[in-house]
Symmetry: C2
Subunit: 361 residues, 2 copies
């Protein structure tokens, strides 16, 4: 990446033209985990000179990105009413990330500012409208990766599930699937803060231990070792389930519906067991009739509809983080080229906590 | 039925001992429609003399009963968290009905009063606590059968779905399955009163006509003639579905989930397609993932939890009935012995409107 003149951004003095690698969707993946057949790392040249940046726009260098399960849903090519729309073919995909302003034509941002948004182009460099960005507060003494974790997509998904959709009373029986994943690890802790009894399911014994010893879950089990989810839930929920945070869907949701208490709530954050199949080939949930007699409410939610609560969320999570009360695990992949591997890792039993990519140090 | 002395109740002067026929559950029906293998009409003798009636109790002669789909759920012998509990074996079943007080030891009721409750013993004569009964107002000029229809179980189920759970705005797109059944016929009319566009599915062309011509539905279709529910919903809901009142479950619910708008509500009153199968043999719903991206809420409800609104409901429905605005159809079976036939009829495509039994003229 050779600089010519004019952009003073510390590490990248005088750049006017950069080579920028970016992830492009070249073919949809109806089934399975997307591979290099579907996603290509394309190199383009981008002019960063003053004339190339429109008014109220900034040039950004990408530092971190958040790798979340919902991205898979945007790659299927099937408009099932899923999260957001499908990524357009031959265009750069987007994800939540953190970047640094390297040139600004906006009064809102100065070079060097760290900025974030939910829909960054997944490019090493890009020019973006300033109004779509938030400043990342570097004075709070919080690690940058935390802004993509406890203070980012998974933290907010967990907070909305527990505080807004579920809102369990103290003493409620709360079940969380994919409990050691990005959303689950925070949701369990938030439910514990509210005085609930919390049980999680996860995919390895190592993660069962982690849930109980690090994240404060009352109980946890390895679903790969339970031939009968129904029996497992009988064992771990002798008094039934009041709130289920569903991150997986499918057979676990079906089992939960056999253990719900009257007026139980099921907050559906995602259904990770369902993303890699065409919907007509999925195993259906056969006992939905149970929601009538128990007056159960099953509710899907998206974070975008709860942005009016984002400040409340940030305040709460910053407090918990500073008090050392909220524990977190994340796996960092390095370099933009690690995206396919990191995306695949989310769907593997061995994944623990939040997955992020550090695009640049 | 021979009288000896003392009970002056008009049609049954001087009864002290009566023969009373009553429906008893003798075996559960895991699958299919219950038959005489499961339900027996037993004859017992009941003493109605003053000493046999405890304080604050009344003797009642059964006049009408309401035959509703939820009764089927209480006969499966499977505790799936269904509506209420299973009927006890070798005991008299219960249902919503209207009777006449023939002897009273309660200051609340006099002989000749018409009374109702949701849990009458299904017996020609019985003694019951007065506190469990409501008076049926005979001065309102409303047909008695209407108290089991517009003002009874199906009317209240419809009203709660539309006014409490769904609460659609004017202009919303509302879909109702089993639309010509007891709940559906009222729900569609209530949604029309709120300014919605209402489409119903039903099982015969005759009922399609009825829905459009009598009940004011904008559109209706015969699901028995639609090979592809998805295609039918594409046709009838070009702008998607905002509220679905689910009375059937199964494949129709699955199809609806492919047509829901953002923040659609699905009020689940019952799932009549699901009652006659063991749950593990039912066809599952495979596309529940759609509820996340569309932020759909699926909610089961029981009338018992909404009794605080019963007076509002009654007031509204009495007004609509007196204004001639609310149309109703019911099928009357005659005699207590017609119960098995009338119960089976609910699950048949040919059933129209509310099913009741006139036990005595």
């Amino acid at each position: 990446m050779a600089g010519l003149e004019g952009v003073d951004n510390g590490g990248h003095e005088n750049l006017t033209m950069v080579e920028s690698r970016e992830w492009v969707m070249v073919a949809y993946a109806a089934k399975g985990i997307p591979t290099s057949d579907h996603l290509k790392l394309r190199t383009t040249k981008l002019s960063l000179d003053a004339d190339s940046i429109p008014k109220d726009h900034v040039a950004v260098e990408l530092l971190w990105v958040s790798v979340d399960p919902y991205l898979r849903g945007r790659m299927s090519g099937q408009d099932e009413g899923l999260y957001f729309s499908q990524f357009a073919l031959d265009e750069v995909i987007t994800t939540c990330g953190i970047g640094r302003v390297i040139r600004s034509k906006s009064s809102k941002f100065s070079k060097g500012d760290l900025v974030s948004t939910s829909f960054f182009p997944f490019s090493e460099y890009f020019i973006i409208e300033a109004t779509s960005l938030q400043v990342v507060d570097q004075t709070a003494g919080i690690e940058i990766s935390t802004y993509l974790s406890a203070l980012g997509v998974p933290g907010f998904a967990a907070w909305v599930a527990i505080e807004v959709i579920g809102n369990p009373k103290s003493g409620s029986n709360v079940f969380i699937s994919a409990a050691a994943g990005g959303v689950g690890m925070f949701a369990g802790q938030l439910a514990k803060f509210k005085g609930c009894r919390v049980v999680g399911s996860t995919g390895t014994d190592e993660k069962v231990k982690l849930l109980k010893e690090e994240f404060g879950y009352d109980e946890a089990f390895n679903y790969n070792k339970e031939a009968d989810f129904d029996a497992a839930l009988s064992k771990y929920f002798p008094n039934g389930i009041d709130l289920y945070l569903d991150n997986v869907g499918g057979k676990m949701l079906e089992a939960v519906l056999n253990h719900v208490n009257a007026r139980a709530r099921i907050a559906v954050s995602g259904m990770i067991s369902q993303y890699n199949q065409v919907w007509t080939e999925r195993e259906g949930v056969r006992n939905l009739l149970n929601i009538v007699g128990k007056e159960v409410r099953i509710e899907g939610y998206l974070m975008g509809s709860h942005m009016d609560r984002f400040d409340d969320f940030t305040k709460a999570m910053v407090t918990y983080t500073k008090e050392g009360k909220l524990r977190s695990k994340h796996k960092i992949y390095y370099g933009i080229e690690s995206f396919i591997e990191s995306l695949g890792s989310i769907f593997s039993s061995s994944n623990i906590g939040k997955v992020v990519i550090q695009v640049k140090p």
